[in-house]
């Protein structure tokens, strides 16, 4: 159920952002989803195909999903740590941090149109 909601949000968001004429020419959507976003790329692909089977308007759009690792940047020493096992600690100075710089995003970061 979660994935179908996400597919609906993607299309709703793009409909708000672009005019219909332009949407008709859309050929690819590039998503960037963080490990913390609770989005599983394979399930999202399945949900997309289920929602837009052959013959429907958005079926031919290619969906690319990139999954990103969790990273925090220490507020004190500025060191960037890749978070492993959900321990949100700076690996250099051992301070806890919630300053996420990557891993939480759910972005439509690029779309392609074809003439």
């Amino acid at each position: 159920m979660h994935e179908t909601s996400i597919v609906n949000s993607i299309i709703k968001t793009l409909e708000l952002e672009f005019e219909e004429e332009k949407l008709d020419k859309m050929s690819a959507i590039y998503l960037k989803v963080g490990k913390l976003s609770n989005i599983e790329p394979r399930l999202l692909h399945n949900a997309y195909t289920a929602k837009y089977p052959c013959g429907t308007k958005f079926h031919s759009i290619k969906l690319h999903i990139e999954s990103t690792e969790i990273q925090i940047q220490c507020e004190v020493c500025n060191h960037i740590t890749s978070v492993i096992n959900y321990r949100f600690l700076c690996e250099k100075c051992d301070r806890p941090s919630k300053n996420l710089i990557q891993g939480e995003e759910m972005l439509i970061h690029k779309v392609e149109f074809e003439d």
């Binding site: 709703k12 952002e17 959900y86 949100f88």
Partner: protein, 232 residues
């Protein structure tokens, strides 16, 4: 069956647009509208999340009993089916409306916004959204709340914060519920707090039993403080 090779030559041109739009932009837009409305009416909005069966509705009943003479409280409760929870909460003498999601496993800002006109927000100091029992997707949907409170029942096992990190990362308060059962369960409060704070070091924690009353005063004090801050 053979795979047909495409003989079509590449045609047209590919235009590319860098968008970087949040995929839940539509949800977050509505969440901001809710937040603005709540700021106007000075209503404290709390989003209650947890697994199914961790005691959200019982906590709502207990909180209503404790606070209904001091302030006006209301609840909106999300479930896949039935109106049972809203009925239970109404028995405590407060306004409660049920959102039946019809199979959707979380509440979205749009659903909350649709129900808001049913409440007289000017008169309501504290509005709870009792989310669908689920530690996964409700974490991703901002409902315009001031605070997110997650119940973590002792019967669930103390390993949940690391299994469902995003929920604990986005919460402001963790209520370790059903504490009256601690003597009978292999559940370590220290272990659950340690794991939860590794995910979110700012997370506040209270230990409660809605059934026996432990920690309910501290919980109500926390709420009263937040209401005071909001109405200041």
């Amino acid at each position: 069956m053979s795979i047909e090779k495409s003989t079509k030559a590449a045609r047209g041109s590919v235009q590319c647009e860098n968008t970087n739009i949040n995929l839940l932009k539509a949800n977050d837009y509505v969440a901001d509208i809710i937040r603005n409305e709540m700021a106007k009416t000075k209503t404290l909005l709390i989003n209650i999340t947890s697994s199914a069966g961790s005691g959200k509705t019982t906590l709502m009943q207990k909180t209503a009993e404790k606070l209904k003479d001091k302030l006006t409280m209301a609840v909106m409760v999300g479930d896949l089916e039935t109106e049972r929870d809203a009925e239970r909460i109404r028995e405590s003498g407060i306004q409660a409306l049920q959102i039946v999601t019809g199979g959707i496993c979380h509440l979205e800002a749009q659903m909350v916004h649709q129900v808001l006109p049913e409440y007289n927000l000017e008169d309501i100091d504290l509005l709870f959204i009792e989310n669908v029992g689920n530690l996964v997707c409700p974490a991703s949907f901002d409902l315009g709340e001031d605070y997110r409170v997650t119940l973590m029942a002792t019967t669930e096992g103390d390993d949940k914060p690391k299994k469902y990190p995003r929920m604990f990362l986005t919460s402001d308060m963790m209520l370790v519920s059903k504490s009256d059962l601690l003597p009978y369960l292999p559940f370590s409060v220290d272990a659950v707090i340690k794991d939860a704070r590794e995910v979110n070091h700012e997370l506040e924690v209270l230990q409660i039993s809605a059934l026996k009353g432990e920690g309910i005063d501290a919980w109500c004090d926390w709420l009263l403080n937040k209401i005071k801050e909001k109405q200041a």
